[in-house]
Symmetry: C2
Subunit: 396 residues, 2 copies
């Protein structure tokens, strides 16, 4: 049930006709409180979709009542009209949710509604279909609606991604979508995380930023950062249990780490999930940068698709990171692939024939810089025929 | 004839058995003078092949008598033994060329021999085969040997790349190889440029750096910078005509621009050559950085393979460049693909259906930042099934 596992939340996912497949494409998540704490981490792309601009503003007060999400269109690069569409969507959600309000405090304003969209850039949304979908979703809201919501935000995702972390008296649930255009920059796709812990906005924000920095931000499927990336944390306080920033960060990280791993496992056309770990770095940032240089090498990614432990392509990628960014002695580099140290001190190590890449989907690469004590892992996928096919044959 | 078009040069290309194909794999280029001016631009990768380390040192006096090049092995990440192999190769070339020396001044030292290697990283060279190849190449040196030399440096190149620029009384000739692992960083492959103009080392160095900066450095086939990239300029002075830095730069640029364009046209598995031009930038550097962000987007490159003018992937890539690197207003972005302005002021422009990508191999993308007067073009290729195939099915 993911996002509806914590108390205080209802969700729904319905088919509104935005997706040509006819599948679910509108999701609604409602926080019934008693608290309405919210935080968001948004794409750092300078080209930002209308819903990203909207959500940044709407969440700035640390509170939100609902999130509406649609697949079937990113509403990015759609000009002032596209922003008006997002605004109208939020207003419609607010009106529908206010219809059953028992007291004035239960009334929802447009500024309490966060909006996420995903799909093709540069096309206006079919607003009739979307608003109809909002009505249907509002009618379908249920305390076990998490599965349907997670299904509705899929685009090229072959499966929905959900995760739950249980704690004593409270929990964290999450859902995410993302199969391509996955790259770091704070948040890398759409994700909604819920918790019934009692937390203040500052704690929610700190926990979410910390969790995304070490999980979603370390997934780099294809080096392409989206215009719509959004990760939202909603806290209902329904458990009555207060969570401090450390406990909340740990639980949210558990959920986002699981979701991030699920994203990698379902990346467009991939046949291998690759964990590139850089050890012996001077700082965490240096380790991440070096790992990312490897995960962005098309030659390396294509070699892994061919089950070829071509470590020359790894060291060549490591060598492109400037010295001021990641100090290390290039002559000291060690590279280990699936446990076999194929490169020692930048020279030939164990025979590459000892590496078996065909045996499993998961591949581990460890690069030791021998320059310090910091380390980091970045996940990516291999570069395959299916990736090229999915991203050339279809507009998305 | 390319590199043997200018007077004062002999060259050869022979099959030494380094390449499994049995094709030519050792090239020798000799500058018979009267001058032996030389300059080189080398990879900025921190992991440097033995021949790159050698050549940097050998050319530091501004002079060289010969260049020996081999395909069939990069001699990178081969440790001290690999460096000894390069040293031994240079000594062998020096000894062979000195055998026929008429006067002591005609004697060649190992420090007068530049070395280039290309092929798989992490394997020692077959030195018996290579030194035998040097003997054969020395015996085959000819004033019309440019074609054979250009053929011998090919790896996955389907054709050899050569170019000549004629001037009044002097000329510039060039050859290059490179089909994958092509990315900027000062030089992107192996290339030898020759001229019979009379030039001093400082002029040669300045002209070569200026020419590579605006040509080879603006080819970015797959974002992967090699450990072996080397561009060498040799000047014999045999024409007796002095060339100033401006004239020399223009002529060398003419040759390197042609070679760069040939590299793009023969990039591994590509079906489209894509010129990404960024206009309205505040500086040339900003224009290049933005263009490079687009040329490195796998999603954009895959869309072009699918003949899909998916401009959302272009603006998404443009948006990843930080503001301090390239100041511009994201809401002002225009994008034109093959002459059709599909994106205007970050919004929807002309219908994307008007863009015909299937009609020709060449694709032009123009991104107008509307922030200044600087512009730059970076060339890349589409991301195709054949690229994945060539780089997954074969170690190279």
């Amino acid at each position: 049930m993911s996002i509806t596992a914590p108390a205080g939340f209802r969700a729904a996912g319905v088919a509104a006709g935005l997706k040509s497949s006819g599948g679910r494409d509108v999701a609604l998540v409602v926080n019934d409180g008693p608290r309405r704490t919210a935080a968001a981490v948004l794409t750092t792309n300078r080209v930002q979709a209308a819903p990203v601009v909207w959500t940044r503003q709407a969440v700035s007060d640390g509170a939100a009542r609902a999130v509406v999400l649609n697949s079937g269109g990113a509403n990015a690069c759609t000009g002032p009209e596209g922003f008006a569409d997002t605004h109208r969507t939020a207003e419609h959600v607010a009106a529908v949710l206010s219809a059953g309000a028992a007291t004035p405090e239960d009334e929802v304003g447009a500024g309490d509604v966060l909006v996420c969209s995903t799909g093709l850039i540069g096309l206006r949304l079919d607003m009739d279909a979307l608003l109809g979908g909002v009505d249907a979703a509002a009618g379908a809201l249920a305390a076990d609606g998490g599965d349907a919501a997670a299904d509705a935000i899929r685009t090229t995702d072959t499966v929905s991604k959900q995760a739950v972390a249980q704690r004593a008296g409270w929990s964290v649930g999450g859902m995410a979508k993302g199969a391509g255009m996955l790259a770091p920059g704070l948040a890398t796709m759409l994700s909604v995380i819920t918790t019934d812990a009692v937390v203040d906005p500052a704690t929610a924000e700190a926990a979410l930023r910390a969790a995304t920095a070490t999980t979603f931000d370390r997934v780099d499927s294809d080096g392409c950062m989206s215009t719509n990336d959004t990760v939202i944390l909603l806290a209902s306080g329904a458990s009555g249990v207060e969570a401090g920033v450390e406990d909340l960060t740990a639980a949210v990280t558990e959920v986002t780490a699981s979701l991030a791993r699920q994203l990698v496992a379902d990346a467009e056309g991939a046949s291998h999930d690759i964990a590139v770990t850089v050890t012996g770095a001077t700082t965490d940032a240096a380790a991440v940068t070096v790992a990312r240089a490897v995960t962005r090498s098309n030659l390396f990614k294509a070699a892994i698709f061919g089950n070829d432990p071509n470590w020359g392509r790894i060291v060549a990628a490591v060598g492109t990171v400037p010295e001021d960014v990641a100090p290390y002695d290039p002559l000291a580099l060690d590279v280990t692939v699936n446990g076999v140290q194929v490169c020692r001190a930048q020279g030939v190590g164990e025979p590459r024939e000892l590496v078996d890449l065909a045996a499993s989907r998961e591949v581990t690469v460890v690069v030791d810089l021998h320059a310090g004590d910091a380390s980091a892992t970045v996940w990516t996928n291999d570069l395959t025929h299916d990736y090229v096919h999915e991203n050339s044959a279809y507009s998305s």
